[in-house]
């Protein structure tokens, strides 16, 4: 499945009503995060950096995006890190009212869009993709990251 479908589902959830309820906002944040995470994981795998299949994927995706040294992907690593925090709040902290606000869910979707766009821009530019790939491979060798 194309992980960007999660992003579109999140958008649909937020567009389905004028006043999205708390569960809808939390769900949209989760879908935004998993769209971005899995899209990053796919791209990084193609560039020779596996994020694995377990929970380490969450941290490794942020780390490898940063290691590409591509300006857009370094920014995307920050967006993904903030999105991860929102998703942790949305899925695990039932007292966190901030993730029940529609504006927060829209922010999460926007952060995800920025990540998706950044990855696409690099994938469509052979020179940037080659550099990002070389940098992330070199990072893995230097740090012995599996």
């Amino acid at each position: 499945m194309d992980p960007t479908a999660f992003y579109h589902l999140g958008r649909s959830i937020m567009a389905s009503t004028l006043t999205p309820d708390p569960a809808s906002c939390r769900t949209a944040i989760g879908r935004a995060y998993y769209a971005a995470l899995n899209r990053a994981d796919e791209a990084l795998n193609r560039w020779g950096a596996s994020c694995g299949r377990g929970p380490q994927k969450h941290g490794l995706a942020v780390r490898f995006l940063h290691a590409t040294s591509d300006p857009d992907l370094i920014s995307a690593s920050g967006d993904l890190n903030d999105l991860k925090t929102l998703r942790n709040m949305a899925d695990y902290d039932m007292n966190a009212m901030i993730v029940e606000k529609p504006s927060q869910a829209r922010r999460a979707l926007d952060l995800a869009k920025n990540i998706l766009d950044g990855i696409e821009a690099v994938e469509n530019d052979a020179a940037r993709r080659t550099t990002a790939e070389a940098n992330v491979r070199a990072y893995r060798r230097r740090t012995n990251t599996p």
Binding site: G78, N81, D82, T85, N88, M89, Y92, K101, Q104, R107
Partner: protein, 112 residues
């Protein structure tokens, strides 16, 4: 809340917010006070921040990692605040190395 952190550049006091003991301890252990100062400074540059940022220490619910969450309350239009968030992350990620960059995340609460 306790501990008024005053670190970083010898000529300035950037972190002027109250930090809890656990946040201070985490910052000291990971040499994060300068980075936290810069994160706060960048947040104030990029957003119309209302009041002081609140910094808390979080345990990741799925992996054995802890990190700081800097929560800011901001005023303004939603699209403007989202653009500011992007600009903040551009500046933050380009000025901070791994792993420090991943140890401070930003949560933005837009005033209704």
């Amino acid at each position: 809340m306790k501990g008024l952190a005053m670190m970083t550049d010898p000529s300035t006091t950037v972190v002027d917010i109250q930090l809890t003991d656990d946040v201070l301890e985490f910052c000291r252990r990971n040499a994060l006070l300068d980075h936290l100062s810069r994160a706060i400074e960048l947040a104030r540059q990029h957003f119309s921040v209302v009041g002081d940022p609140v910094v808390r220490l979080e345990q990741d619910p799925e992996v054995d990692e802890r990190y700081l969450v800097m929560e800011i309350r901001v005023k303004g239009q939603e699209d403007e605040s989202i653009r500011a968030h992007r600009a903040y992350n551009r500046a933050w990620t380009r000025s901070t190395d791994w792993p420090d960059v991943s140890r401070i995340s930003l949560v933005v609460d837009l005033e209704d």
